[in-house]
Symmetry: D2
């Protein structure tokens, strides 16, 4: 018996990724897809501009698209809904769904920083799901909401986690070079980005600086307590289809050499969730490359089926008294849809669905 | 009467830029161009893969290319030679030329860090040319060598100079996104960079970390003394034709707000060389943009005819207790050929030619 | 005394080009710019996403943008309005303006094929402006409308004209590789075109197939008579900022060798308008390159300030019993804004304004 | 028992594709890889710049690379060698190998047009392998050489075959937009192709014009007789990683409507080889798309695992009295390595190995 799954906002890039991943998933069965009013009632295959590297399965192409309305969604009696809605739309409908008893795993940025809403990157902070009980109690909901982190932050925190555990973090400076897919199907006009870089992504730096501390924060009796190191980010949009590259400088609590850092990262196997053997969990959540010129977005983004982060160029940094390194992750898989699925698997494994 | 000028290594990207700039220069007359053995004796227009945005002037197209041999060069009795040679070739020939009494302004990285070789970014450290006398005495040369900084460093130091003067620098963290032209005409195969980023440029990080301190260093009686703040760099090659973009984080000696930094940068007029009115000196060496999403390589690289650096996104940075900002400069103009010409103008103005 | 000029739809790519060209024009003075309702009343510099290679002049940045309303336009008493409006909007307003006595030179595709509307590519069919009188009589207008051809067609017909005159044309097969700018500032999302080609441009093939015959048609007493050779086109959108490249196969009436064709193209000096010495007319409307691998969009698009077409790879073609050749032109200059200005110059020279 | 296979020239793009395909092949076992002298003796994983989308298998990474010497190759006693050598090197070594009894399936262009060398695109002209016997007799070889067609030609002829069979061909006009991978790993410098098109590929047009007629030619008692329709080609290099797009105009012997052509193409199942069920043969060698804007390289190149050609935009063409259509194929799979394997499977099935 598979879990009954719906995808809200299924025509955008993250929605497409979700559908692609759900379709071949051993535990989940796609029951419905929603989209904007004007597409509802039409066949998914007729309205989507499918850009995933694998062809759209005929079965999914034939699905009738629903409007993103609470009543229609409830009719499908889903066990889980995955939300790839724009934040502004997500804010209301996700709350309504949780109130009605639905489990919502959401990529929308709304509510990510609320203290009783878990913001989960499973290999990093699976234990934060224990806040769900409090969330339901606080809000009087029968269902609940779990949030997927911002794409750059999901990638960053997975790479930082092993170092955080072993030597502690004081300061993190991160510069991102983010792919076009992060802005959605029509987000970046080609005339504005060809032979160019746009050194600004609205709201992104604040998300990285804040969400990182919540994700690496501690679960306490009174809620999730943000970690107290500090993060500063500078974000750029570059001419790459998929895969966010990050240049990271870390000041550590304990002094550490590059080789030792490399060993720690290589040995990280995903923490507590490793033994759950969840279907979407990569065997190596952090892959370390020793070549001078890796990771590279086009060559490394599908490592671990897009669920691993790839770390390279680990160097001792004397200026920050710590390390510098380069991190890459697939922004719509590890940074969105794939992590959403991994969260749902975790919830299922822990009998929370 | 114009100065007689030669360009060594005139077929590469920097060589082309130099020829393009010299050709329309009020003080300089191009007398000869050298290239590799196999091209010598042929017409420049027949061997060059001209990629400058302005067409190659017919007059230059007809110039006979010379081999890069000392005897042939001396026959032209040049006042100045501009070198765009690869480092390995530059090392010998530049020294020979200086010994024979020629003024060499060179882009090659060889000898840049030697204490009696001035490494000049004119608006930043024009006074370092006073070391020339010592260079000649030390080495028994009748001519001398002046070096143009590494491209990323020339851009960075021009943007840092006003802040350095006003509030002092403690630590600088810089991530570069460097254009293809920095690697030369055939340096980056398209198959390796399309839909991709290469997070590594051999030797570049060390150059930025070291040259910055020499350029901002002080001229003392015993030579140029490196400044003692510290710089850490991480360098990336991106899919952009021209223009290096840098995300810079600065820890300052004195606390400073973003607005004040913006004012300081705007008011910087190029220091001591301002009053010399050199032909290649941009009216505004540092241009500050207030839009959220500037500077951008394609839109801003030709600011000040490619000789200005454009700074934007000036923000207070609490993590480093300083500032973060985005800097852009044209790598083959401000970062190479244009600065070479500006140096030559400075030398001429100061009667050193 | 300069002509008073307005630009309708001044924020798009063609509008920007027009403003850029008008601003430095010896005969024209920009009096006003219109844009969509939501931008009207604001300063041009604040609403435009300026992407032209030359910076936006401060004077133009300060212009107040008007709505595209007939009353407001008439208040400015323009001598000429250049229209870069979308077809659907152009259809009405342009007619109203002509009725009110205004000279309209328009890039919009509406009405291009109507027999009393001249479709002018000045070096090709300047004589077609004689239809204006009939247009005014037919329609009872005090002003009139002249149309600029479709971008690909303007480029194609200029390259074909010399061959058409000398050896006659029977069949033309053309494949275009069209730049992004042809689709407007936001026309082509980067996610859809990076590492890709879109082999379809709505309506483009029909425009090329029909407009070519009208432009090369004859002015007769009863109107413009379409030429009776035939054209077939296949159009593709490629990852290039500016410049449309066309691979053309021509069956000629008289047999011709490649060298002879090359000579004919080289000797073409622009026909009847040559002696008018119009400011925007390029000295060489057709430039022939003899290298194997030219023309190329990035290297050749600004030939003749973007007003020349560049032809290369002229080969005898046995299959079509004629020629094959490669043609390049700047789509927003020769293919739109530049030709609009050249038309206006022609009208002024001929005392039709 | 698998066939023992070697790959000559295994580090280039076609060589990598071959190795990737052989590695997961049910009938073939990779025994050795050759490369240039300077790489020989080293491990494949250490010298290759692997750019295939699937990671390099560890087993292959560990293979010791051999020099491309006849003695070393013979020591491995291969059943088949696949050659991805440059033509100049291929010319000798392939002949030597065939003389020594080896079956050589080669991508090199040398000898492709010799009348006793079969040039095979299996779904099109599998019967041409019958010339092998004559080849061996003529030349006194114990082995033999079979050639893979030029990449653009393999794609074109597969799309033309069904139309050729049903309605006959008189004239074919084809414009190609070819991907970067066709020029090899370092073939096209990024500085020369970004924001650009190069309208020339040395030798390519002649290959398409000649090879097409041989492939569609008839096997007669005296050898392969070229078909007598005519083909003209114009070739362009574009900024796409993989996948050649072709705009094709066809004059047919019998008049045909677009819909009928579409039906014919859809129904084509690969001819005689269909019933052999060869592992690399795609279920649908020709896929017809009905959308306006397909095929597109990035979205369609992996159709049929890269072995199908995708045809779209099938339109009646009145100018040529035939059809116009757009064809896409994966140049290093269908256009090279994949077809090489399919040929080897055919030879094996027909007991020629």
């Amino acid at each position: 018996m598979k879990y009954r799954v719906g995808v809200l906002g299924g025509t955008g890039i993250v929605g497409q990724r979700m559908i692609s991943l759900v379709t071949s998933h051993p535990w989940f069965e796609l029951e419905f897809v929603t989209a904007s009013e004007k597409s509802s009632g039409r066949k998914y295959g007729d309205i989507v501009k499918w850009i995933i590297e694998k062809p759209l399965p005929d079965k999914i192409a034939g699905i009738k698209v629903e409007p993103t309305h609470i009543e229609r969604i409830l009719e499908y009696k889903p066990d889980i809904v995955f939300s790839a809605l724009p934040s502004s739309i997500a804010a209301n409908i996700e709350v309504e769904l949780a109130r009605e008893g639905i489990v919502v795993v959401s990529n929308a940025s709304s509510m990510r920083m609320e203290p009783d809403i878990p913001l989960i990157n499973p290999e990093v902070n699976a234990d934060h799901i224990d806040i769900i009980e409090r969330q339901q109690r606080n809000r009087g909901w029968r269902g609940y909401i779990v949030k997927v982190p911002n794409c750059s932050t999901a990638i960053l925190t997975l790479a930082l986690k092993p170092l955080y555990d072993e030597v502690g973090l004081k300061r993190v400076v991160v510069v991102t070079m983010q792919s076009l897919s992060g802005a959605g199907l029509k987000g970046v006009p080609s005339m504005l980005i060809l032979d160019n870089i746009i050194p600004y992504i609205g709201g992104e730096e604040e998300k990285i600086e804040n969400e990182t501390l919540k994700i690496l924060g501690k679960m306490t009796r009174s809620g999730i307590e943000k970690e107290d190191f500090s993060v500063t980010a500078s974000c750029n949009r570059v001419m790459v289809l998929e895969g966010h590259l990050e240049n990271v400088f870390v000041e550590t609590m304990e002094e550490i050499e590059a080789e030792e850092a490399s060993r720690i990262l290589r040995e990280f196997k995903g923490n507590k969730i490793k033994r759950y053997n969840l279907p979407s969990a990569p065997r190596e959540p952090v892959i370390v490359r020793s070549e001078d010129d890796r990771p590279q977005p086009r060559l490394d983004r599908f490592a671990g089926n897009g669920m691993s982060v790839v770390v390279g160029r680990i160097r001792r940094d004397k200026v920050l008294n710590g390390l510098k390194l380069v991190v890459l992750g697939h922004n719509t898989i590890r940074g969105a849809a794939g992590t959403a699925l991994l969260i749902a698997e975790l919830l299922a494994y822990r009998n929370l669905i």
